[in-house]
């Protein structure tokens, strides 16, 4: 089975193998025809599998090694990207990328987690697997304050397993860094569009995910705790992650139902990891439309709407006295 196939995609493996074998042969018309037939069958099989993914399977897709990173989207949708670094306090955190670029000719600020996906182990270590430390959140906020100062919108790309759970994170105040971002982003006088395109890992994700609109990719996940952690605590058995993933309601359709997100961004058949160009093209429409909407709003109106949006999340009942 090819390394980047997930275990539930196994039915596709023999087809891919045949394609591989054919591709090594001289391109006769028959061969070409066979290839096209096989590709269609792969597409159809993928479509079938992806039409009924379980929540746990979605978790696996969201964490796929070839899932597009923030920089993959930047390379395809933005021009003149200039990365900026550092929190001016302690360090530069490579688990979060920040920088300015042009989006359809308009200057925007981009922040986003980067897990080192698609790269080798060295790349992943460099990115700390997307586990951001306090300096990552502080760098992000610094970038967003720049956007506010120069009246530019912010686009935040969310893809992290969690904030880094290590000693130095605690020493340097990971809680404070996230908390402060939550408060300041709520009041940041600049349009903010959030794109949850991979793993929305709890506070580590939320720390840069307050915005006027929250888009979420079809097979992305967004959760208060990873299913493994939830299973370990509530079932006392990390192997019950499949049930936990089910119970946590962490899929894009679930979140749309809860009104935690505003819109689902469609992915290529078989997930964004199968075709980065197509994935970017599918994001382009919703992103530009949304950005235009929130940019057109009056600042005070936008801030009030942002407040109302998060203020309304989750309904409560009233007990009989």
């Amino acid at each position: 089975m090819p390394a980047d196939l997930l275990d539930f995609e196994e039915p596709i493996a023999p087809l891919l193998k045949e394609i591989d074998a054919l591709e090594g042969q001289p391109r006769t018309p028959e061969c070409q025809q066979a290839l096209e037939g096989l590709s269609r069958r792969v597409e159809a099989a993928r479509g079938e599998i992806y039409a009924k993914l379980t929540p746990w399977q979605r978790v696996m897709v969201a964490r796929h090694n070839n899932r597009p990173t923030v920089l993959d989207y930047v390379a395809r949708l933005f021009t003149e990207f200039t990365e900026i670094s550092g929190d001016r306090r302690f360090a530069d955190d490579h688990a979060i990328v920040a920088g300015f670029a042009l989006y359809k000719g308009t200057p925007v600020m981009i922040v986003g987690h980067h897990k080192g996906g698609g790269g080798d182990t060295k790349q992943k270590v460099y990115r700390n697997f997307g586990y951001a430390k306090p300096e990552g959140y502080r760098k992000s906020l610094r970038a967003m304050k720049l956007a506010e100062k120069f009246r530019r919108p912010v686009i935040a790309f969310i893809d992290t397993p969690a904030a880094y759970p290590g000693v130095e994170s605690e020493e340097r105040g990971i809680s404070e860094a996230i908390a402060y971002n939550l408060r300041e982003m709520a009041a940041l006088d600049a349009p903010i569009v959030v794109v949850v395109h991979g793993e929305g890992g709890s506070g580590g994700a939320l720390g840069i995910a307050i915005g006027d609109r929250v888009l979420m990719h079809e097979f992305a996940i967004y959760s208060v705790i990873p299913p493994e952690g939830c299973a370990a605590i509530l079932w006392r058995d990390a192997n019950r992650k499949v049930e936990a993933a089910e119970a946590l309601k962490l899929t894009a359709p679930d979140l749309l139902g809860f009104e935690v997100i505003d819109e689902i961004v469609p992915e290529p058949v078989g997930g964004a990891h199968t075709d980065h160009d197509r994935a970017a093209a599918l994001l382009d429409g919703p992103l530009s439309r949304t950005l235009e909407e929130v940019s057109a709003m009056d600042g005070a109106v936008r801030l009030e709407a942002r407040y109302r949006k998060f203020r309304a999340m989750g309904s409560v009942g009233i007990a009989e006295p």
Binding site: P165, A186, A187, V224, D254, V260, I318
Partner: protein, 304 residues
């Protein structure tokens, strides 16, 4: 009557290493110094060991009695209940857990919001209840605290949030996570309006509670030796594959690393808060200011 009674194990939290709620027996053994204490004496001492100053965990109601004048307050939104948005079931139905909690604590969720006076100063206090699913924050806790902050803003009265929580409540999933955003957004408005917010962190304060309102106080004040952190100690140990040093993630550790303003003994807490609130311009009318000083104090609007 039993001379010793074991404390019930608090449920549902990874951070509860050892329960330190005051047991209900006549005598109590202090987990700090092993001294045998007469329960009534302990209560009189605000549940702080007179011998070694170990702070026993106290309930939300006891907390309000410690802080508010004459043990008198008006409760807000006591009847809000979870409507189990995820229809969550693990080894037990969440609904059943909630019912069991309601029976054992007499509360509907893990926070009490009260308006009262602290040393004569009108305040809004939200006190979290650890006995209710580890003080975890779901939608009800988020909603009640957000309302408390909005009430404080409307009345221009200081708000004090006493945290005692394992973090976000898993059984309400991503909606629990969003409560962090909800409360922080309300606190942004309070901050911009110049209304004081003091965060009091008690044992334990971890996860999504720490990573939102608990760290956002104009002052962050903690009780001694409280466990305060983002990730639980066990998670960190698994990450770094090492034992954590003694005292890691305790109040004194956070003070040393610049995350807290003060670590205050419970017996001094009320007085400290009152001084802080007076500095912030609250309740200036309650203490008779000398005439000369009155001329340079705050505008009447802030001097309530």
């Amino acid at each position: 009557m039993a001379w010793f009674k074991k404390a019930r194990k608090p449920m549902g939290s990874a951070t509860a290493e050892k329960p330190s709620r005051v047991p209900e027996g006549l005598w109590v053994k202090c987990p700090g110094c092993s001294q045998i204490l007469y329960n009534k004496d302990l209560e009189k001492n605000l549940s702080v060991c007179p011998k070694c100053a170990h702070h026993f965990r106290i309930s939300a109601a006891e907390r309000l009695r410690v802080l508010l004048d004459d043990g008198h307050w008006t409760e807000h939104d006591p009847n809000l209940v979870s409507n189990d948005p995820l229809r969550f079931t693990d080894t037990k139905r969440y609904r059943d857990r909630l019912r069991a909690m309601e029976d054992s604590t007499g509360m509907k969720d893990a926070v009490v919001v009260a308006a009262g006076r602290l040393d004569g100063i009108d305040v809004v206090v939200a006190a979290m209840e650890y006995a209710f699913i580890g003080g975890s924050m779901g939608v009800v806790v988020g909603e009640k605290i957000a309302r408390a902050v909005e009430l404080a803003l409307e009345r221009r009265q200081p708000v004090i949030i006493v945290s005692c929580s394992g973090g976000a409540r898993m059984m309400e999933g991503v909606l629990s996570l969003m409560q962090m955003a909800k409360i922080s957004a309300a606190l942004a408005r309070l901050d911009r309006a110049g209304v004081p917010f003091i965060s009091v962190l008690t044992d334990p304060t971890t996860g999504g509670v720490t990573a939102s309102f608990a760290m956002l106080g104009d002052l962050n004040v903690a009780e001694p030796r409280a466990l305060i952190g983002f990730a639980g100690p066990r998670v960190i140990e698994q990450t770094i594959r090492q034992k954590l040093p003694e005292g890691f993630q305790r109040s004194e550790f956070l003070l040393e690393h610049g995350m807290l303003d003060l670590v205050v003994d419970r017996r001094e807490l009320k007085g400290t808060l009152a001084r802080a609130l007076r500095f912030m311009g609250s309740g200036a009318a309650a203490v008779e200011p000398p005439v000369a000083a009155a001329a340079v104090t705050l505008p009447a609007d802030d001097a309530r």
